[in-house]
Symmetry: C2
Subunit: 348 residues, 2 copies
């Protein structure tokens, strides 16, 4: 017989579904006033009084949305939560609850699920959301994660994709392209590892980029900032598929066009030097690279003074009539039509 | 080159993710007053005024929860919705919105997703719920469906698993074991088909059982009935994993025991004759077979007159002290401890 090298690991079949859920969720505490009752019944019960509720959901599949060969399970759990909270932010709302469903094949021991839930727990704690339900089941292959986020805002503060109007300013938070480039760094290291498993990767020069990929954050701070600045965007979306794809969504929903200035797109210095190293164009990466989870929004020009000079916010263009189309104005002042080159799920 | 026999089929890569979602959801209309805005933004917006909200979620995996060799895609879509609405019923609440996320591998053409969504659409229409969001993505293998249901009820009407008290009556809706037996019939036909693909299955004698398996319904009618009878159960759960498993959940959450009478368990005549044919014990099937999606609830004895004689409701036992344990009282008046033998996800 082969020796079991993983004899410290616990097969999931030792627990059974209900004991497993109990075990994984026992540290989840209810912190939101709107959570009336949580895990342990057929459904969670929530109460929001006079607020409007926002609901967002995402399905993450191993081999499509994440690669466990360089994504530690704890980071994956954290990121699965962040991706959904980012959608709630994009409505200018505040998330308060999530449900998390996980399916895993027999290859995952209990300890793997514990690591995943540890990341979920960290994110829930950091963002002050209650985990109020979910499902834990087996899969025939790989890991599948489904997260649904629930948040709320007063009716007046909710921002949709559809409210942008000509002359509004186009604003982006943080910097772009880092998460995509972080993925390229990790994939390169994976290839090196395949050739020489003794090679220890030196990720030091890419710390920021790798962190952008492995541990993105939802810009809940921007929602608070906008409230304190007394700014309600006219439209908003989060950047999950890449700036070009998202700006087109915004224009389509709002029935407008836009001019987006290449030289205004915020880039991190590490991102720029790594683009040089990889011999790729930083604007292409910043525009088409996904997973930055920054916010893209439009504001009325009269609000410009309120956001001016804030290091978190960069005006990258302005809204035009729909008939004008959506263009990138390059450094050489050429106007190039914007095309969505974001990640297309079914072309893989 | 091989001839493409499926040249009427449309590969999903022809559409891309966003066009696919648009295509599949274009027939979904908003019908609920509580749906403020639906598909097409980062999140749906809902408003419930002074009601409490219930949220329930389920993840269904091909090869674990369903087998496409005998489950038509339209039925699967319908069932995926029903399973979640049943959880909302079990809170004595009324569902109003669902989100639906689907992941499929390249082996599914557009027409397969259309059939699936047609079933989702039928269920949403029949149960009067709005599909307000979701996600459509690719998987490395097989089909994955994640549904989240949102419903509401006034605070006073919400029923949890935890409210049963000694001397309450234990009530079940409909009849039990049919869905499990329907699955056995379908699996037998699948084996016959493998041996002789020309053999046409005669499912006529099993119509009811097969329908219980392929097209279960959520007992929303019972929620209306209880309201019109002016009965609020003291505790409630839906029967997805089998009566024995669910009664133990109820007893554990309520910290009580129970006596459940074998001769009171409601069985359909077709179920009984098929049990004889398969040479299996009908009580075992009724107690341990899952997926009936009936409701199990407890009521105060003072409410007995209100439910007495209703053909939808059967009193099958009563609640005892926790120290008395949970027992099945057999036809021969033997008391057998109830054990959960429901479907255990990780033992597969």
């Amino acid at each position: 017989m082969f020796e079991n090298k993983n004899d410290q690991q616990t097969p999931l079949s030792d627990l059974g579904e209900f004991a497993l859920i109990d075990h994984l969720t026992k540290h989840f505490k209810v912190g939101q006033a709107s959570t009336v009752s949580s895990i342990g019944d057929d459904a969670a019960v929530l109460e929001f009084k006079d607020k409007q509720i926002v609901v967002s959901t995402d399905l993450l599949i191993e081999g499509i949305h994440f690669d466990l060969s360089y994504m530690p399970l704890e980071h994956l759990g954290y990121k699965a939560v962040v991706v959904n909270l980012s959608d709630v932010c994009a409505m200018n709302a505040v998330a308060s609850q999530i449900t998390v469903s996980i399916a895993v094949s027999n290859r995952f021991p209990l300890e793997a699920l514990e690591a995943l839930y540890s990341g979920i727990h960290k994110a829930a704690k950091y963002y002050n959301v209650d985990v109020v339900g979910g499902d834990t089941t087996s899969s025939t292959r790989g890991m599948i994660i489904s997260v649904t986020a629930i948040g709320s805002a007063s009716k007046e503060r909710i921002v949709r994709r559809s409210g942008a109007k000509p002359n509004d300013l186009l604003v982006v938070t943080g910097d772009l392209g880092g998460a995509y480039l972080g993925l390229q760094v990790l994939e390169r290291e994976k290839e090196v590892f395949k050739v020489n498993p003794n090679n220890q990767p030196d990720l030091e020069p890419y710390t920021y980029l790798v962190e952008r990929q492995l541990k993105p954050e939802a810009r809940t701070d921007i929602i608070s900032l906008l409230e304190s600045l007394e700014v309600i965007p006219t439209s908003m979306i989060d950047i999950s598929d890449g700036l070009s794809s998202e700006v087109l969504h915004l224009c389509k929903s709002s029935k407008v066009g836009c001019d987006l200035y290449e030289d205004k797109i915020p880039l991190d210095p590490q991102m720029m030097t790594t683009c040089e190293e990889f011999n790729v164009d930083s604007t292409t990466i910043a525009i088409n690279g996904g997973e930055d989870y920054e916010l893209l929004f439009t504001i009325d020009q009269s609000d410009f003074d309120k956001i001016k000079g804030n290091p978190n916010l960069t005006v990258i263009g302005f809204i035009k009539e729909q008939s004008d189309g959506a263009h990138l104005v390059t450094r050489s002042e050429t106007r190039v039509p914007i095309e969505a080159k974001g990640w297309k799920s079914f072309n893989a």
